[in-house]
Subunit: 225 residues, 2 copies
């Protein structure tokens, strides 16, 4: 699956970089903004999977930014974790009221930050888990090894093909349009022509046979039930 994207909004550049470094190490894609206004702009553009928002900031503070996000249809469902130096209960309560999903007091250890992030993401998306090995029909798709097996045949697909197959297979039967596939497999802020998906599908079919991925005309593709 594509990387989960996290937007970090904080006016302290050093902290921003530190958090970025640690999140990347954990396999997240990271976007950064230095104030609420910029945060909103980037959020609208890239639709991150989670926002880490400092409360005290110039221009537009975190609380305000969150209110704005919660009022925006496109952004209202993105989970938000407040980040703040103040360990003041009142602020915390207020923050959660305004629509924060969790609240972390700086300084915080990396481990703790990560586990909070994962916990919040899980609450939002129970389907987040990815499993090492997926068995569908006569195929075994092993994400840990990046190998697809059928009987005792082994297929080594290139990354994009593998990930596309994995994505579709893990949602067996569900149709996904090209744009969704691009977002999920290629990543959010990537811009490629959506026909690219066709080519990858073809390559997968070429290698595994064309009875796994079905075309749904005018809509997209799906892994056969």
């Amino acid at each position: 699956m594509a990387k989960q994207t996290i937007l970090v909004v904080d006016d302290e550049k050093d902290l921003l970089d530190l958090i970025e470094y640690n999140l990347k190490k954990e396999g997240f894609a990271v976007l950064k903004a230095e104030n609420g206004e910029e945060g909103i702009k980037i959020a609208k553009e890239h639709k991150p999977d989670l926002v880490l928002m400092d409360i005290m900031m110039p221009k537009m503070d975190g609380m305000e930014a969150v209110e704005t996000m919660r009022a925006d249809d496109d952004l209202k469902s993105i989970p938000i974790i407040f980040l703040t130096a103040r360990s003041d209960e009142k602020t915390e309560v207020e923050g959660l009221d305004k629509g924060g999903d969790d609240y972390i007091t700086k300084p915080i250890s990396t481990t703790k930050l990560i586990s909070r992030i994962k916990a919040v993401m899980r609450r939002f998306d129970e389907t987040t888990e990815d499993i090492d090995r997926l068995d569908v029909h006569d195929l075994s798709i092993d994400k840990d090894r990046y190998i697809v097996t059928r009987g005792d045949e082994e297929f080594h697909l290139p990354r994009k093909e593998f990930e596309l197959l994995y994505y579709l297979a893990s949602r067996k039967g569900k149709v996904r349009d090209r744009q969704t596939l691009l977002n999920k497999v290629w990543g959010d802020n990537i811009y490629v022509v959506d026909r690219t998906v066709d080519v990858h599908v073809r390559k997968i079919r070429e290698k595994l046979g064309d009875h796994y991925i079905e075309t749904v005309k005018g809509v997209g593709y799906r892994f056969k039930e």
Copy 2:
């Protein structure tokens, strides 16, 4: 690998039995305790690979038990998953702060429980026991003496090369990306360019031949199955 042992601590006997039944079916060994105090005792005795801990219990509650475990050198590194009937956010946050690694709200489906357990174990997987001597293919990798043997050839690899080889070999077949390799072999808060891994891989290949470590383009490296 030996069977993984899971300690389940919960005061509801029925639930305890149900979980035991399901975990055993999955091939885990199961230990049971009915309160925090007993849990700690058993944990100290048997060093389980993971603890499933209810939060609400008589005698010593889960939160307290975890704090005790985290303060004990022998037990601090055992992963813990909280189990609770309360779906109250605040408790969850507190639990994670206290040192829980994950948090599951009862009731939960068996499948989900198992997959969470596996996910947490996977996170800790990398901490798994080191064996003194690893025999893979025609190689014998002796961690005790830092020597690799093939037939009656001996290879004395420098430390990083040796450890990288050992790490990959001990996870035969599994792909690891550069960042993970750096984290696991070089150490967590070390900052080196990830292409450094390439160079070390090359040096290993130069010495042992290039049929042990495989490249998975766009992903990372893996020791050949």
